[in-house]
Structures are given as structure tokens and as C-alpha cells.
């Protein structure tokens, strides 16, 4: 099994954090995984992104040029990475921040108004978890229990109510991806 | 009569001009500029006294004052 993910958005939208959570979860399940951030000009151009590879065997090059899955949190990210998605791949989009939508027909596109859903659920901070929920459901690469275990460890004491919200967001995302 | 104009090309919506204007005439625009920022606008030119305070503090030299 080898799945390549690119996760992209504005600096501060949490694209890099989504990648880290998924990578940690996959590591917990004993998989080989690499997480690689992009730096420099990308940051300024509004497409700060990370590449994550989930694999059973040792991962050679950590660079992703033909992603199986792309999570795009803003329009510049859609414009830059949609063309790279392999045929039959998955494109997860936060439609609130992508006014011009997507173009390709030969891939599975999952568009969710994440910002609005998040603010309805009470905090913009959980946009990441919505995207993670969709990813888990759409790709089955990691189990949601692994992600949740990590979340508990990460913010169990510090921020229990945000933890609760995050857990709901993951479920919300998974349900959304089911339809 | 005075006129304060903000060039949306340069403004990064930092808010320093708003704090500096003695007449509190400046606020954020509805729309976002090409860089994705809500830019500053003078809400009531008639009140503007062309004191140039906003011009002085603007870190992106986005403001022009006429008198």
C-alpha cells in the first residue's frame, strides 16, 4: 500500500498540522510514513503545503509530484495542485475559500463548506478535523481511532472541550464523505 | 477640503492608520484586495483635516493626502 497526500492552504490555515496528525496516526498503526513541508516562496504565495506518504515498505523519495489525495484549503491551493492528482484520486476542498471551484471530472472531488460548518459547530479551529474526517473515510488509510488517540494525548488535559469538538468534527467529516 | 485615498494594491489592512487618525475616519473595506487583505478606507472625506497622521504611520505607504 502506498498513498501520497498533499495538504495545502494559507500560512496559518493548519494545512501542515493536518499532515502531521495523519502521519502520527499512521505511524501508530506501524506504517512507514514521511512528512515534508514546503518552504520559502510557497509560503508567501499562499500555498504553504506538506507532502505525506503512507507506505508498508521503506519510503525512498519523500517528494510527492503525483498525489493520490489533495486537501486544498484555499483557491491558490486548488489551482496549483488539482492538475497533479492521479486519475481516480481524491480532491478534498474547503468550498468556502474556493470561489472558482474545481475542474477535473476524472477524480473524486469532495467539497465541503468547512469554514461555515466549523463556525456553526462553534469554533473555526476545527476546520482541520473536518478535513481529516473526510480523508479517513474517503481513503481508509488510517483508522479514526488512531487519530483520536493522538488527539486525546495531545490536548486531553489542556483543552477538553476543544477535544470534544474535534472528535465531533472528525465524525462529521467522515459522515460527509460517506454521501 | 481634504482627500485621503488608500491604494488597495499596497494596503495590508494592519490598522495603524485607523489608530492614528484623530478623527477616527478610517475603517476596513468590505471586500478583500488581490493579496487577500481587507484594506483601509476613509469613511467620511468631509471630516478629514489632511493632518497626514495616517500617511505618517502607514508601513506600506498606501495613503495619498490631497488638500
Amino acid at each position: 500500500m502506498k498513498v501520497r497526500l498533499i495538504c495545502s492552504g494559507f500560512g496559518g490555515q493548519g494545512a501542515l498540522t493536518i499532515g502531521k496528525f495523519l502521519a502520527k496516526a499512521s505511524m501508530k498503526e506501524g506504517k512507514e510514513v514521511t512528512w515534508l513541508p514546503s518552504y520559502g516562496p510557497a509560503m508567501r504565495g499562499g500555498t504553504a503545503n506538506c507532502s505525506v506518504i503512507f507506505s508498508d515498505e521503506e519510503i525512498a523519495s519523500p517528494i510527492v509530484n503525483t498525489p493520490d489525495v489533495v486537501i486544498a484549503l484555499n483557491q491558490p491551493s486548488v489551482d496549483k495542485f488539482e492538475p497533479l492528482v492521479v486519475k481516480g484520486g481524491v480532491l478534498i476542498v474547503n468550498s468556502d475559500m474556493c470561489p472558482n471551484g474545481t475542474k477535473r471530472k476524472d477524480i473524486r472531488v469532495i467539497e465541503m463548506p468547512m469554514s461555515r460548518v466549523a463556525s456553526d459547530m462553534g469554533s473555526m479551529k476545527i476546520v482541520n478535523m473536518l478535513a481529516i474526517g473526510i480523508f479517513i473515510e474517503a481513503t481508509k488509510v488510517v483508522k479514526h481511532e488512531s487519530v483520536e488517540e493522538d488527539l486525546v494525548a495531545f490536548m486531553g488535559e489542556k483543552n477538553p472541550d476543544l477535544l470534544e469538538l474535534n472528535m465531533q468534527a472528525i465524525k462529521k467529516g467522515m459522515e460527509f464523505a460517506k454521501e | 477640503m481634504a482627500k485621503m485615498t488608500v491604494d488597495p494594491f499596497y494596503c495590508k489592512g494592519c490598522g495603524l492608520c485607523m489608530a492614528a487618525c484623530p478623527k477616527k475616519l478610517i475603517s476596513f473595506s468590505k471586500g478583500i484586495n488581490q493579496q487577500g487583505y481587507h484594506y483601509a478606507e476613509c469613511t467620511d472625506q468631509s471630516q478629514c483635516i489632511a493632518c497626514k497622521m495616517c500617511y505618517q504611520v502607514c508601513p506600506d505607504v498606501a495613503i495619498t493626502i490631497e488638500k
Binding site: - | M1, K12, G15, L16, Q35, Y55, D60, I65, E66, K67
Partner: protein, 247 residues
């Protein structure tokens, strides 16, 4: 109606690469305005440092060079000594001038090189993500002073103007603030005087401009200016330190 304030001609039309609210931009304007008013833009040669202002060469309509970290005063010496009819100025951050560039700034000042040094003190390393600078305040947190700067272990904030004031040759040394409009207006006078003396080949001028770094201070633009007024100005007193040019 007549335009009474707009972008100086010496400024190029490119967008600044600085974060929203970063006062580097104000310092740029004061320099550019002075160049316009003194009519020296075509004679000017600027030297920018390594730091967030590494891109400054894009923002001025005069010849420019980007120097290695801390070496701008030496590069400016080479320029001033080979094209003596040029008006050379350096634009440096606090890590650039007061850490790695300590020997260069002191010896350029001691030789009385004909140049104007504009020194932006934002008490932090901006470009590399917020590490401690020699000007970082006591107890102030930064990525390389995560528990707050311990002055008993890593020393006190360095007062550059006072350090240079112990040297004989410098003609003009002043510390100014960019933290509010009145201060900026006063700062403009000092910036212009530094370039004036340069034009009259009177020697070495240093202007320290107290500035902010909202991004790495974790504050928005306005909070940053307030914090700087409250915390930085007591440590870095504003005012004229020396002016031997007037005589």
C-alpha cells in the same frame, strides 16, 4: 486640490515584502523622502543586510547591493572609497549590526567612513523566525530564549548608540522611534540630517530606529507599537546622542 503626501519618487512601485504593520516600511519611506528632498537619488548607493530587509534593494530607485550578514558597513566602505562621489547608506537589522556585524560597524565608525547607517532595532531576529537578538529585552521570550532572556546568563540588551558614542570620529548619532506619528515626524529629521551630512562628506552618521516585529512578537500591529513604547523605550532612550556636523 494638491497632493501634499504620497509615495516618494525614490521608492519603487513594488509591494513591500514585510508583514502587515511591520515598521520597516516606515523607515523605508523616511529614507526615500529624504532622498527626494535632498535631490540625491541618482548619487545614492544602498547596502541592505541579511534579515527581513534583504529585499530592500527592490524598494528603492537607486543602485543597491545585498551584503553578507553583518558586513554592510565594510561593503559600504569599499563603495565609498572607490566611488567617492556616491552617497552610500546601509540599512541593517539588530542581528545584522549588533551581533555578527559588531567589528564592522565599530571600525567603519572609528575610521569615520563617509556613510549613513540606518539601524532598525526590533529586538528580535525577524527573518529567521524570531530568535533572540543582542537587543532582545531582559526576560523577553524568543525561540532561542524560550524561558525569557536571562541577563545574568546571556547579558543585557546592547545600546548601540552609546557603544558607538565612545568612538571619536562619528559625526552624528541619534536614536529615534517609529512607534507613533509624532515620533515618525521627528525621526524623519534625523534620517534627513544623516543623508545631508553624507552629501556634504562630513563622515559617519548612525540613526537607530526603534521598530516592531508583530509576527514574531505574537502581537497585532497596534499592540506591537504599544508594547514597544512601554517596554523598549525605557531601555533605548530616544534622543540626540551627538551632532558634530552642525559646526
Amino acid at each position: 486640490m494638491k497632493i501634499i503626501a504620497t509615495r516618494p519618487k525614490a521608492l519603487s512601485d513594488r509591494q513591500f515584502t514585510y508583514c502587515p504593520g511591520c515598521l520597516h516600511g516606515v523607515a523605508h519611506r523616511l529614507i526615500a523622502e529624504s532622498m527626494d528632498e535632498l535631490g540625491i537619488t541618482k548619487k545614492c548607493i544602498g547596502v541592505c543586510p541579511v534579515g527581513c530587509s534583504v529585499f530592500a534593494y527592490r524598494f528603492f530607485n537607486c543602485d543597491f547591493t545585498s551584503a553578507a550578514h553583518g558586513r554592510a558597513p565594510a561593503v559600504a566602505t569599499g563603495i565609498s572609497r572607490s566611488r567617492p562621489d556616491s552617497i552610500v547608506f546601509t540599512y541593517q537589522g539588530d542581528g545584522d549590526l549588533a551581533a555578527i556585524g559588531t567589528a564592522e560597524i565599530i571600525h567603519a565608525a572609528n575610521r569615520g567612513e563617509n556613510m549613513s547607517v540606518f539601524f532598525i532595532n526590533n529586538a528580535i531576529y525577524g527573518m529567521t523566525g524570531g530568535q533572540m537578538a543582542p537587543t532582545t529585552l531582559a526576560g523577553m521570550k524568543a525561540t532561542t530564549s524560550p524561558y525569557g532572556r536571562d541577563v545574568n546568563d546571556v547579558g543585557y540588551p546592547i545600546k548601540v548608540c552609546e557603544l558607538i558614542d565612545s568612538l571619536e570620529a562619528p559625526v552624528f548619532i541619534e536614536r529615534v522611534s517609529l512607534l507613533d506619528a509624532p515620533s515618525i515626524i521627528k525621526a524623519k529629521k534625523a534620517v534627513k540630517k544623516a543623508l545631508q551630512y553624507n552629501k556634504e562628506r562630513k563622515g559617519f552618521s548612525l540613526v537607530e530606529l526603534i521598530s516592531t516585529c508583530p509576527t514574531n512578537w505574537g502581537k497585532d500591529a497596534v499592540e506591537a507599537t504599544n508594547w514597544a513604547k512601554k517596554e523598549m523605550l525605557p531601555v533605548y532612550p530616544i534622543g540626540l546622542i551627538r551632532d558634530k556636523g552642525a559646526k
